[in-house]
């Protein structure tokens, strides 16, 4: 009896599996959705061949939504407002969307298949996002685990971005890494140098992209990246500016300060850089030089765990204990943060205790 049940169950599973396979093959090779129209923001219309995902189809039209998983439905970054024609919400999308997002018809572009005309809405800034080819011009070791990469752009030959924004760097295959990945890194160069792009990348244990950058990528190689992305940029006000960064979080702040110096900003600024020990500091003289280039700027490195032979005479402890020295008017102070999630969490708490409001604290949450 047991054998009969097992045989029947096994047979049922086999038939179900075969049917699924047939459906997948039929969907891929036989389903013909013909030409479909994508209406973007009610302004731009694209005629495309139906059958592919919205994300892949937009990519073909050189419209790039953020994605870290290559459209496999596992990162949840490619969110997009679908006004009409997106079909039903799929179970694969639900874990990545909040109830509010679902009620607003936000979808994952990689999971929405184009089978009919579709209306979508995306931020205008996305039209500025391009896929770039570049050559690695220079690789510099800043510390034992941080490198600076300089890329010379090939195609397109220039990039238009705001200081503070980021790009997604695409890896190539290496050793066991068969599927290339994309990872987000803040741009560290000045937007006015539009024919080159710099990144500051810290090695992450187990990191597929950072291992590639640190151990495999060489000067002279061609690479690809997509961008620019992000809402982390300088607000054009007269408010005092507080910059706080740790580790490779120096990248967007470098870009911002270079831009501010070039544009002769008169704003009052201080930059706290947090590190553990002297071995984690880099570009120290470079940032002290901004004290001469900018009207009112101070660079303040703070070490949390200096080593005995560091002979460190600067500030020690945590950045939060020094914030009140700088903040003279919390209603007129903006804070720009870049670092690990734990650092951001600690700094946001410290800034709020100083009286700086949430809406004046800016950071990228990746």
């Amino acid at each position: 009896m047991l054998i009969l049940i097992l045989q029947t169950t096994g047979l049922t599973a086999l038939i179900a599996g075969l049917l699924s396979l047939i459906l997948v093959i039929a969907e891929r090779y036989l389903a013909d959705y013909g030409e479909c129209k994508i209406d973007i923001n009610g302004k731009r219309k694209e005629v495309v061949k139906g059958g592919s995902s919205l994300l892949a189809t937009l990519n073909e039209k050189k419209i790039y939504l953020a994605s870290a998983c290559g459209g496999r439905g596992s990162c949840g970054f490619c969110k997009c407002l679908v006004l009409d024609g997106g079909g039903p919400l799929l179970p694969t999308e639900k874990p990545f969307l909040t109830t509010d997002e679902i009620s607003q018809n936000i979808r994952l572009a990689c999971q929405v298949k184009i089978k009919q005309d579709i209306k979508i809405q995306i931020p205008e800034a996305i039209f500025n996002i391009r896929k770039y080819k570049a050559v690695v011009e220079k690789i510099v070791d800043f510390t034992y685990d941080i490198k600076e990469l300089t890329f010379r752009l090939l195609e397109p030959a220039t990039i238009d971005f705001k200081a503070g924004q980021y790009v997604q760097l695409h890896t190539r295959s290496y050793e066991k890494i068969k599927n290339p990945v994309s990872r987000a890194y803040s741009i560290s160069s000045n937007p006015s140098q539009s024919n080159l792009l710099q990144l500051i990348i810290r090695r992450v244990p187990e990191g597929i992209c950072t291992t590639w950058v640190h151990d495999y990528l060489k000067e002279g190689e061609e690479i690809e990246f997509t961008g620019p992305f992000g809402d982390f940029y300088i607000r054009e006000t007269e408010a005092d500016m507080l910059f706080i960064a740790g580790g490779s979080g120096k990248a967007p702040i470098k870009s911002m300060l270079e831009w501010l110096a070039e544009n002769k900003s008169q704003r009052r600024m201080v930059y706290f850089f947090g590190a553990r020990a002297v071995q984690d500091l880099y570009l120290t003289e470079y940032f002290h030089d901004f004290e001469k280039k900018l009207a009112d700027f101070n660079y303040v490195p703070v070490l949390s765990q200096p080593l005995e032979n560091d002979k460190w005479e600067g500030r020690t402890g945590y950045i939060t204990q020094y914030l009140t020295e700088f903040v003279r008017d919390c209603a007129n102070t903006e804070a720009y943060l870049c670092g690990s999630p734990a650092m951001i969490n600690a700094m946001v708490k410290g800034l709020k205790e100083c009286g700086i409001k949430d809406e004046k604290i800016y950071y990228d949450s990746f």
Binding site: A68, C69, S74, K178, T211, P341
Partner: protein, 152 residues
């Protein structure tokens, strides 16, 4: 072993070089189903559940997270440190949201126990009872977890 397409995809994503450099299986040759089944059986023998383990790891993770650049000391002789880095890591299990990258180091100087875990480990343990394969850097052995957190 018969596998659904989803199970096949999960097993594939757990291999080295797919979602992380070293993968989730270590040098364990077993299918992830077998790893889960054996670890859940061990938990049951020890009288604890995967949810209890996940709750304890979550509690320690939050404590360490709030002690940025320092050690949290939940009890005398025990220290927990959160090494936080930017970025998120994808889960091999379909439908799980990406987790923050980073690693939490636990050290018990009294029992002489040291191990580590990631925010993703907590999710995989809570939802699936997956403690990673033997030999994996972030493998959490149920017996060691029991000794560290639950044995009187």
């Amino acid at each position: 072993m018969k596998q659904t397409p989803d199970e096949k995809s999960i097993q594939q994503k757990m291999q080295p070089g797919n979602l992380t450099l070293k993968g989730f299986l270590g040098n364990d040759q077993r299918h992830y189903h077998e790893i889960i089944a054996e670890d859940l059986k061990k938990l049951s023998q020890l009288g604890i559940t995967k949810e209890q383990v996940a709750d304890k790891l979550q509690e320690l993770t939050e404590m360490a997270y709030e002690n940025f650049e320092g050690l949290a000391e939940p009890e005398p002789g025990i220290s927990v440190e959160y090494i936080s880095v930017r970025g998120k890591v994808l889960s091999p299990f379909s439908g799980q949201k990406p987790a923050h990258k980073g690693v939490i180091h636990y050290h018990d100087s009294i029992r002489n126990l040291s191990f580590c875990w990631t925010p993703l480990n907590i999710k995989m343990i809570r939802d699936y009872g997956f403690f990673e394969g033997k030999g994996s850097d972030n493998r959490l052995d149920p017996e060691i977890i029991y000794l560290a957190f639950f044995k009187d």
